[in-house]
Subunit: 749 residues, 2 copies
């Protein structure tokens, strides 16, 4: 029976009356603030179905969610946007702890930007519980608040042995969150990591899933990751907890430059990494193309188990830097500042690398990066073409001239040169009976991710394989922006308010007195019409307000302007609350003066990038303040802060104050680059007596700068154990640059 | 093809030539110092078989072992005795780390007393590696040295998912070892406890398997324990590490008195305890009839995981004391002396008790012993007949009058009274489709271990179910001992040397001067022919030698004698080395004087019982010295020391010195009982200034004694946190009895 419903009340009534074979059709249109509780008992042959009248025709918005409980339920074709979950999850395979869904499926749905108003507010978009549930052909993109996009929960026996299936989905861009708990997928957690899971994640596209250092965090046993594409995603597939995970036939694509794109990171026992392909990855340590971590001796359940009994076989790495990083996370040298239960000193053991291919079109000095001993690893029948560049090898990794063929963009397979290398036959290698492209490994077999023959058609990047057929990601984006010329303050205010995505606002020369903040909530460029005739924007708004108010998703490019403000106002600031997503601020060829602060970040705000290039800052009380996350839980206010060829003069304090508190080794972020910049006469009022505050920031590069006549004790205190460097700086009457190897840190977890 | 072999060389040659279907027959007789390496590849249909000409006709002795590697091997009918393994294991399913056995079987074999010469020397009798191996119809008894009788090793993927079968074996008596590492069966260890195991242990008889506190230590995942009988065994079946263990249809039989007989002790996640029967158990804490332990928050892998997601259903407890002990091992009150990572403060959660039956012919005040919170446990449809004795109940445990029927010795099933209690149907309870006796649970079902009907024939204790058909345990023991009358020292020496098991030697009155130690290597009674005319044994042997030398297996009952020795000699002592098994010393109605020490225990010696009753000790330098295990690894020199109605006069030091060092909460042993005894004029030379040294002994009972005029600071220092008590003692000019709640301890593990 088919029941058409047009209101929430009708929907509830239809559900209450549903039985095996009932099809409930939601009328096309917007459904607002609707809490769907699909509870019922269908059968395998006759499920209970809830579907949109037209796939995608039903937009669910506002404070809405969809929770399921019972058996054999199907949801098809809903589109969640313009809202946020009123509870813990948008879609949940349970309505309560006692009422779970089993054998149920959500297909052909979209969740877009369905975010809580602030990034510290935690929720999930899809929460699996029960057993044998499925999410397929869905598109999920843009989650910016705390919490994994999808989480599989294993608590309670009815959710163990779950055999869930997550297949053929398109996971669209997830912006960096700046701190932990922003995985695209998490399966289990440390406290349930002894439970058998058996979740299958197959044939999904992970498309620019940044979020945090883990795209996928597998925290339970027997999960399988097969045939997925990880495309330009700033994180790794990580076997964080749990054992016996299969990583087979996946593709990891980088761009040869971005060091944030990761591969596979292994912790624990019994994993099998086979038939995978890695391209153009430049990540180090936690984001290595393949990282085998060091474990902790007798680790507690929420820390790092030793890598044991792992098989890495029949994979291919092409143009990746130090593809095999062994003993990652070793921190023996931090024994002074960490308790013994934190010391990762147990390198991998009982581990086999066999039949892998490494190809570098430019030779790599350290294809095997030994962070700790590799004695516990056996190498058999691995091949490298390193263009003759010398490296420290091992027995079982032989050099050959290989001929690579590109079978689809960025995917190169080894054709000539591998046939002569005998394939090692290890324990259970008979189970590796297909290659990356599904071709049989029988008589015809070879080292590397393919069986030595060219596949016929490669549809890895075919969009029709992923997500709903009815939905084209990015289809709603406008074309290139338009340019608007303005001459008066009113015109400027109106242009900013009415601008479309990507628009350019060009200011004629002259003065613009502004008293109300200019709100930036999309990508907008504000610049001089004539770079030689810089307009002067004078901000005379209320105390504590900014000239440019950065809203969620706002991206301001400001160029060739002079920006002056009153001593109680700010040049730039995000919202004080409600920063549901990140913002970006880029300023070039500008002059900023008079303000209380150039940029003041508030708690829970997050900038993807703050970039000042050829900017002169003078006579302001404060510079770039990015230190409002003071909970010491690993969060921070900006992913990248870049200051190039600029000048800071007479900045009272906080020339730069950039802070990340709380020790969590898996947070690898925070990047500060200051180059070619001069700071003078500044810091006299600084409470910390430090010119550039960088506490807890992992990547710091201070080079080619001049620090002169600054009344501070220290220019900066760098963290030697992390990626903090300084070079070629001129320091005069400004204290000094100090490097401390180990900074005392508060543990996050 | 069948090949008969009569020498080790012929055997090696036959193995070298063996292929599918080969049957190698070992000639009947004694094979000494033979290291059998059965390496070959058979098939499922045509295995390679190595068998005794006549089952049991081949005795393998001396420094012999049997190691297997390859596929489909069978060993049948060997008898190991009178020797010890020259390597790590008597029988091993591997010949090296790289060469394991699979699909192989050892059947119909016996290993008896095949012990290393000293208890600290470690070995195994059967070591499983590889996959799909089987031990069945074997009899193993009398292991007394360190190391589990059988261990299943999971190290390395080829030994994971092992599906071994241990079935229909008879595990005969294993004496207490006095310290850890004396399990009858251990499966995995903490470092491999994340590996899937799937070992099946079915239909075995565990007959007086004492050893240590764990009869079975399950340390891996998915093991199954089904249909086993645990008879008068001083330990428990313990899910020490690993998850998802099945304990179904087992029987645990106590005697209503011995508090060492245990049941099931649970740690960790996902276990199912169903259809089991418990009778006459009196154990507490670690040896409780059912113990659910407290866990450690974020435990390290070798400590205590929290109990979660456990099901306890359809079990029956009859005449057990406090059958359900919840939160066992809670040690919150020891936070002062233990590090936080040792504090077991996490009580069980997400745990279900359903359809269980408790019957007490005398009511029990605490059928549910709450060591910690039971809020995380759900109780449904449990029934108790407590004879109206009040107790603190829970919802889900109802009182009913039950009628119990004894279907075989000690096995009572509930017939009337249970039918009225509806059976709770919990998650996956449809898998509980048989009862304890294999009867179907369908239409006919009931709470408790049976389906509510009486089984037809119960063969639980039928000896033909267990062990080899050709072997009858204990068949070689002699009948009751004979009595020998002696009148002279020579007759005494000869009678002791020639005595048979259980013999009694009766001494006429008069003096017996002895210069050579009397070696006791079996059960022998030495007593006055006429209790009214006590013979006087004067020992004048060499310095440091004992009048009675306790050998492995020796059991001396000495009664109604006067024993006097020189100041450099000992009344009793074990061997200085080579104590491969324990000894027992019982002295009644005797007088002992003059010696350097009454009893001097050496390192690695172990007494099951030292009992003095109505004994007068005087003018000796030392009393009972049981403090030679000074490694602080949990070992100790005697299980029970009992002194009743005795007198100690002018004992220079160590009236009693009884020591167990090293904190390992799972060692529950050491028992000292001193009652009705007087100590005077003693302790003046005591180095510790303590009259009775009891450091680290778990059970101490000092009551009704008199301590007078002893030059010591303290009579004893008792351990308040353990089972140490004192009452009704008279203490005059002897220091005092001190109770310290928490003794500082060195961690063993
Ligand atoms: Ca994470
Ligand atoms: Ca043990």
């Amino acid at each position: 029976t088919t029941v058409r419903v047009a209101t929430a009340a009708e929907l509830d009534a239809a559900i209450a009356g549903a039985g095996p074979g009932t099809e409930i059709v939601m009328a096309d249109g917007e459904w607002s603030d609707v809490r769907i509780r699909l509870v019922g008992t269908g059968t395998a042959e006759a499920p209970i179905t809830l579907r949109a009248e037209t796939p995608g025709g039903v937009v669910v918005r506002g404070a809405s969610d969809l929770w399921l409980a019972g058996e054999h339920l199907v949801v098809d074709g809903l589109h969640f946007r313009d809202g946020a979950a009123p509870g813990d999850a948008v879609i949940q395979f349970a309505v309560s702890d006692d009422s779970l869904a089993n054998h149920s499926r959500v297909t052909n749905c979209v969740i877009e930007g369905y975010n809580q108003p602030q990034r510290d507010q935690t929720d999930l978009w899809v929460r699996f519980r029960g057993r044998h549930n499925q999410l397929d052909r869905c598109y999920l993109a843009g989650k910016s608040n705390r919490g994994p996009t999808i989480r599989v929960d294993l608590e309670g026996t009815p959710s163990a042995f779950n055999y869930h299936r997550i297949t053929n989905n398109h996971f669209g861009p997830r912006p960096p969150k700046g701190g932990p708990s922003a995985e695209t997928l998490q399966i289990g957690d440390s406290s349930t990591s002894m439970s058998p899971s058996h979740t299958l994640v197959e044939d999904n596209l992970f498309d620019r899933c940044d979020g945090e250092v883990e795209v996928i965090s597998s925290k339970s046993n027997f999960n399988e990751f097969r045939g997925n594409v990880f495309y330009h995603s700033e994180g790794s597939l990580v076997t964080r907890h749990g054992a016996y995970v299969t990583v087979d036939g996946n593709v990891f694509i980088g761009d040869g430059a971005n060091p944030y794109f990761g591969g596979v990171r292994l912790i624990g026992t019994g994993h099998r990494v086979t038939n995978n392909y890695f391209f153009g990855l430049r990540g180090e340590e936690f984001r290595a193309p393949l990282a085998l971590m060091n474990g902790i001796y007798r680790s507690s359940i929420n820390r790092y188990f030793q890598v044991t009994d792992v098989t890495v076989a029949h994979n291919t790495w092409v143009d990746t830097e130090s593809p095999w990083q062994i003993g990652v996370g070793s921190n023996v040298d931090q024994a002074e500042v960490l308790p013994p239960s934190e010391i990762r000193d147990q390198p991998p053991v009982r581990t086999l690398f066999a039949n892998n291919v490494l190809y570098n079109s430019e030779g790599d000095g350290t294809p095997i990066l030994r962070v700790d001993s590799i004695d516990g690893i056996e190498f058999r029948s691995n091949v490298i073409d390193n263009q003759g560049v010398p490296f420290e090898g091992v027995e079982g990794l032989v050099e050959r001239d290989l001929t690579m063929t590109e079978v689809v963009d960025d995917v190169w397979v080894a054709m000539d040169g591998v046939a002569a290398v005998p394939v090692h036959h290890g324990f259970e290698f008979d189970q590796i009976d297909r290659d990356l492209f599904g071709q049989p490994r029988g008589e015809q077999n070879a080292v590397g991710a393919t069986n030595g023959t060219a596949p016929e058609a490669v549809d890895l990047f075919d969009p029709s394989r992923y997500g709903p057929a009815w939905f084209r990601p990015g289809a709603e984006a406008d074309g290139p922006g338009q340019t608007h010329a303005v001459r008066t303050p009113d015109e400027l205010a109106r242009a900013v308010a009415e601008a479309g995505e990507g628009d350019v606002i060009e200011l004629a020369g002259g003065a613009y007195e502004i008293v109300t903040p200019l709100a930036i909530d999309q990508e907008v460029t504000v610049r001089a019409a004539d770079p030689g005739d810089r307009p002067v924007i004078r901000y005379a708004g209320g105390a504590g307000t900014p000239a440019f108010e950065m809203n969620p998703g706002g991206h301001l490019r400001l160029a060739n302007v002079v920006l002056h403000g009153g001593a109680e106002t700010l040049a730039f600031a995000p919202l004080r609350s409600g920063m549901s997503s990140l913002y970006t601020l880029e300023v070039e060829d500008a002059e900023i003066s008079g303000f209380d602060a150039v940029l003041r970040a508030y708690k829970h705000s997050f900038a993807d990038l703050v970039r000042l290039e050829r900017v002169r800052v003078r006579d302001v009380a404060n510079g770039l303040e990015l230190a409002a996350e003071d909970d010491d839980r690993g969060d921070y206010n900006a992913e990248r802060v870049v200051v190039l060829d600029s000048r800071f003069e007479t900045v009272g304090s906080n020339v730069i104050d950039y802070y990340r508190g709380g020790y969590d080794e898996s947070t690898v972020g925070g990047t500060l680059v200051v180059r070619g910049t001069t700071v003078t006469g500044s810091g006299a009022d600084d409470a910390d007596d430090v010119l550039l505050g960088t506490y807890g920031i992992i990547n710091v590069d201070l080079s080619g700068n001049t620090f002169r006549d600054n009344e501070v004790e220290r220019v900066a205190v760098l963290w030697g154990a992390k990626n903090n460097t300084h070079a070629d700086n001129t320091v005069e009457r400004s204290g000094e640059i100090v490097v401390e190897q180990n900074l005392p840190q508060r543990l996050v977890y």
